[in-house]
């Protein structure tokens, strides 16, 4: 394990609780289109990791293929990154996280990478409740191949070329809740405050955090007739609650009215405060969450916020019963059984 280099910043420079400046969380310059929602998400990831004081050398960043999947290169240069193959990041992440449980894993996918080619691996990742954050940068189309519909495109949504989507969308949040993910949220790249709070909460949770973020494609899917455009999202976003996040390391007295605010204590002791907005919503009620998603679709709204959270659910690593140290760094003395074991096995075949 590396210890982060503790810089001694000039007075007045912004540093986080482990002594790092924001620059330590930055990556390469983005090559995505100007105004792409994905870049805004990258910024929120940088904010969240910085503010939570997470050592980038203890992070692994993974992705599949597509515009979204390029973005791990644009944050946390000093973290190991893996841009894998189309739709198959979940399996790579599973092998990596299980083999080094000390790492904090962030996966970035897109709506095609998750909902089409990757749906098989996505649903099984959700079932396993592997500890990782899985962000879908959802723009309802394939940007890198110039704008074809993806499976999250809404019925009746129209491409610039006039093509109308005639199949119903896959709701990745409903799927994730149904299949066992223990932290499921939906947000909008144009709602920085909410998105950052959700990401910080996700960094405090143990289990699969599935976060679907509407992230408009300014080049191919930001026109009238699209249901994934900035203006459509702004008009139809329906936050379930005002999300506030109180990290465990900030010694502040949290004052809230239990009548209007639901408090959820997360794995590491951080608190999530959800101040009710539109309606009475309890994010720990699975059936309620699924119903709400259905109802909001019927109202042509997209509900955002923390849809479902189950803070104490057993994660995949506990289920596997593996040792506390990373499997990958175990010494041969612990991974190669002694001669007596081989002798015993040989005896059984005599």
């Amino acid at each position: 394990m590396s210890t982060p280099v503790q810089p001694s910043p000039a007075p007045g420079k912004k540093i986080n609780r482990i002594g790092l400046e924001p620059v330590a969380y930055r990556g390469l310059k983005t090559t995505l289109c100007a105004g792409c929602g994905h870049n805004a998400i990258t910024e929120r990831l940088i904010d969240a990791f910085f503010e939570m004081g997470i050592d980038p050398s203890q992070v692994i960043k993974l992705s599949g293929i597509g515009c979204s999947s390029k973005s791990p290169a644009y944050f946390m240069n000093s973290a190991h990154g893996f841009n894998s193959v189309h739709g198959r990041m979940p399996s790579v992440a599973t092998g990596a996280v299980v083999s080094n449980r000390k790492m904090i894993a962030i996966g970035v996918s897109g709506d095609g990478d998750t909902g089409a080619i990757g749906i098989g691996q996505f649903v099984h990742l959700m079932r396993r409740n592997l500890p990782m954050i899985y962000v879908i940068e959802d723009n309802g189309c394939y940007g890198l191949t110039k704008g074809q519909f993806s499976p999250t495109a809404d019925l009746g949504s129209r491409l610039k070329t006039g093509v109308v989507n005639d199949l119903p969308p896959i709701d990745t949040c409903s799927l994730a809740i149904e299949l066992g993910a223990s932290f499921v949220a939906r947000s909008f790249s144009g709602d920085p405050k909410q998105l950052k709070a959700i990401l910080k909460a996700a960094l405090s949770h143990r289990g699969t955090c599935m976060i679907d973020v509407l992230s408009p494609c300014v080049t191919f899917n930001d026109h009238d007739g699209s249901t994934k455009s900035y203006s459509y999202a702004k008009d139809h976003e329906e936050p379930l609650a005002d999300v506030s996040f109180v990290p465990y390391f900030e010694d502040i007295n949290v004052d809230y009215d239990p009548g209007t605010t639901t408090a959820v204590t997360l794995h590491n002791g951080s608190k999530l405060l959800l101040k009710k907005m539109a309606e009475d919503y309890n994010p720990t009620d699975k059936s309620r969450a699924l119903n709400l998603l259905r109802e909001s679709v019927a109202r042509d709204e997209f509900a955002t916020g923390i849809l479902y959270v189950e803070p104490d659910k057993q994660d995949f690593l506990d289920l596997l019963g593996i040792v506390d140290e990373p499997l990958a760094s175990l010494d041969a003395s612990r991974t190669r059984p002694g001669k007596a074991a081989l002798d015993e096995i040989m005896e059984s075949f005599r």
């Binding site: 394990m1 590396s2 210890t3 050398s57 203890q58 692994i60 993974l62 791990p72 290169a73 240069n77 000093s78 973290a79 190991h80 990154g81 893996f82 841009n83 894998s84 193959v85 198959r88 979940p90 399996s91 790579v92 992440a93 599973t94 092998g95 990596a96 996280v97 299980v98 083999s99 080094n100 000390k102 790492m103 098989g120 691996q121 099984h124 596997l320 019963g321 593996i322 040792v323 506390d324 990373p326 499997l327 990958a328 760094s329 175990l330 041969a332 612990r334 991974t335 190669r336 059984p337 001669k339 074991a341 081989l342 002798d343 096995i345 040989m346 075949f349 005599r350």
Partner: protein
């Protein structure tokens, strides 16, 4: 009738005065799901315990219950453990196939059969032993299910008497097979005795086949290749297994799971020093393995043809992003679903270049259960040394059938973990370049998450020496050239072939994997029957080492014998040989789904030799 002992057996129906000792094949024809496996293994083990070399081969359908299954046991005093085509002693238990089974026998063979089948009316040149199985089972148990399962032990009892297999050995083998299940042992012993007593009272010996004690199996074990490979994986210190069930490879990971549970949990905490995940498909299985290998775990998967095809994309990523992975291919018959329960060596060519673009992968080629064990360990070392996927090319015959072997030796070599960057190396190099060839062997240094060394970005897209995205022609070509150089380094690291150059043997044979056992027998036949001395090279890995070209140069003609239609290994040889060497190569392909037998090789060689 055996045609191997031509001098004894050439004269048609046998005179029974001359016994045939420890040199014949028994075939048991049953219905799958009828519990015959216990009876067959007890029979095999009893002969083995008497010191007689044996080999057991199961020919089974892709089905759970109700279809024909044949189990063949070959006893061979000379130690031949390859398949032998001829059946000398048939146990006909399956009414569906009984007539065909009897029709296929050579004159002089013996048949034990279920009396109501009345097989004795079919031919007059065989020895028939009718046994009333149901009647013999009546006093043993009233439970219909148990009766069906234990019924097969009756033929073991009959054979014990007819073939002079010691009843004490039968009982010992049965106890070994049943473990501590006392009630089951008693029930099976009753059936065994009933068969033996019936044969003694009613079936006078009329055939020449006899088992006599020898001393050729002392200290040896009987094991399936999949279990042997699993033991090798555990001893290699595997820490991550991602797999998806497929015949005939499932029992490799299933055995491994059993061993890991027993031997790889920390005594104090009970926690596992490994993880096994049954993936959603083979794509995910290899994806998980690459993720695990990427962070530094010793990771493996096991599959067969259809699964290997699905792994193609990830294999290419492993090759290009340079991530260690061990992949077992327990080959079966393709194309497509093919014959899932039949054996072959049909994935050689496709696996050597699995995935799109310019890729090539090392293949290890175990011929024996001992090599399944040792090459499993070699594969993990090679994968980490080469930072690349390495395939272990087994087959169904090796993986699922029972083979004799000396007990496996405990590994003395430390694990090879490959070039991992550390502080001292970083200081020496001055700078970390993930894909920079600093030693001239094509193998760069790598770092893994959490090791405190510099991070890098792993990708399947074009990259330069410092792992940056690059579409520059020079970067791309330099990288591909280095990967080719790395493959040349692989040539110096893989197991070398076994070579037997005979001074007078200008005719050479190249073979690999389980084909070896047919070659061993065929070379003796060629020597004894046709006075043809042959030189022999058994490949143990791809890429080829310099011994291969030298062998071809030393021969006038080289027969490349393998179990596929298109002479796939010959094709790989052609890619590397000179025109003069290529002119010497002749393919002997075998693709029946059944293991290759020595006689077929002998006939094919003699036909071409003229």
């Amino acid at each position: 009738m055996s045609v191997t002992d031509a001098a004894v057996e050439a004269a048609g129906p046998r005179e029974h005065t001359q016994p045939i000792v420890n040199n014949f094949s028994i075939q048991v024809a049953t219905v799958n799901g009828s519990g015959s496996q216990t009876a067959n293994l007890v029979l095999l083990r009893s002969i083995f315990q008497m010191g007689v070399p044996v080999a057991g081969k199961n020919m089974f359908p892709s089905n759970i219950a109700g279809l024909p299954t044949w189990y063949t046991i070959r006893a061979s005093a000379k130690g031949y453990i390859g398949r032998r085509k001829e059946v000398d002693f048939l146990v006909a238990m399956n009414p569906e196939t009984a007539k065909d089974d009897v029709a296929s026998l050579a004159p002089g063979a013996a048949v034990v059969y279920d009396e109501p089948l009345k097989l004795n009316t079919l031919r007059s040149d065989l020895v028939f032993y009718p046994v009333p199985f149901d009647k013999l089972m009546q006093p043993i148990t009233h439970d219909a299910k148990l009766r069906r399962l234990v019924r097969n032990m009756v033929y073991d009892g009959v054979l014990s008497r007819l073939l002079s297999i010691d009843m004490g050995q039968m009982e010992k083998a049965l106890r070994k097979q049943m473990g501590k299940k006392q009630k089951a042992i008693e029930l099976n012993m009753s059936a065994l005795k009933a068969g033996c007593d019936y044969a003694e009272a009613n079936l006078p010996k009329q055939d020449p086949f006899v088992i006599e004690p020898m001393d050729k199996t002392a200290g040896m074990i009987l094991i399936e290749g999949n279990a042997a490979a699993a033991i090798g994986c555990m001893m290699a210190g595997v820490t991550f297994v991602g797999w998806y069930p497929i015949t005939p490879s499932s029992s490799l990971c299933e055995s491994l799971i059993d061993y890991l549970k027993k031997y790889r949990r920390e005594p104090e905490t009970g926690k596992a020093t490994y993880a096994v995940i049954q993936a959603e498909d083979e794509l995910a299985a290899l994806g998980m393995v690459l993720g695990a290998g990427w962070v530094g775990a010793r990771a493996m998967t096991s599959s067969s043809g259809p699964g290997i095809s699905l792994m193609a994309e990830f294999t290419g990523l492993g090759y290009y992003a340079e991530i260690p992975a061990v992949i077992f291919d327990v080959q079966r018959c393709g194309p497509s679903t093919g014959l899932p329960t039949r054996t072959g060596q049909q994935d050689i060519l496709s696996t050597s270049v699995l995935s799109h673009g310019d890729t090539k992968h090392p293949l290890l080629l175990p011929a024996s259960v001992t090599e399944c064990y040792s090459m499993a360990m070699d594969a993990f070392d090679l994968a980490e040394q080469l930072q690349s996927p390495v395939f272990v090319m087994m087959d169904l015959d090796l993986g699922m059938n029972t083979w004799m072997a000396r007990p496996f030796e405990y590994p003395t070599k430390p694990l090879e973990r490959g070039k991992r960057l550390d502080a001292a190396t970083l200081k020496r190099l001055g700078e970390f370049g993930r894909y920079r060839d600093v030693d001239g062997d094509g193998i760069p240094y790598r770092t893994v998450a959490g090791d405190g060394m510099p991070a890098y970005f792993t990708r399947g897209s074009g990259h330069n020496e410092i792992a940056q995205y690059s579409e520059r022609a020079e970067d791309y070509a330099r990288n591909l050239d280095r990967l080719a150089r790395k493959f040349e380094t692989a040539r110096t690291l893989v197991p070398k072939p076994e070579v037997e150059l005979v001074a007078t043997g200008k005719v050479g044979i190249i073979a690999y994997g389980t084909t070896h056992w047919a070659i061993e027998e065929s070379r003796d036949q060629l020597r004894q029957e046709a006075r043809l001395e042959t030189s022999y090279l058994r490949l143990r890995a791809y890429p080829f080492t310099p011994e291969v070209a030298a062998f071809i140069d030393a021969c006038d003609r080289v027969y490349v014998v393998e179990q596929n239609r298109d002479s796939q290994m010959l094709s790989l040889l052609r890619m590397e040989c000179t025109a003069g060497q290529i002119a010497k190569l002749r393919g002997i392909p075998h693709y029946a789904g059944l293991p290759l037998d020595g006689r077929s090789v002998t006939e094919a060689v003699l036909k071409q030799e003229g």
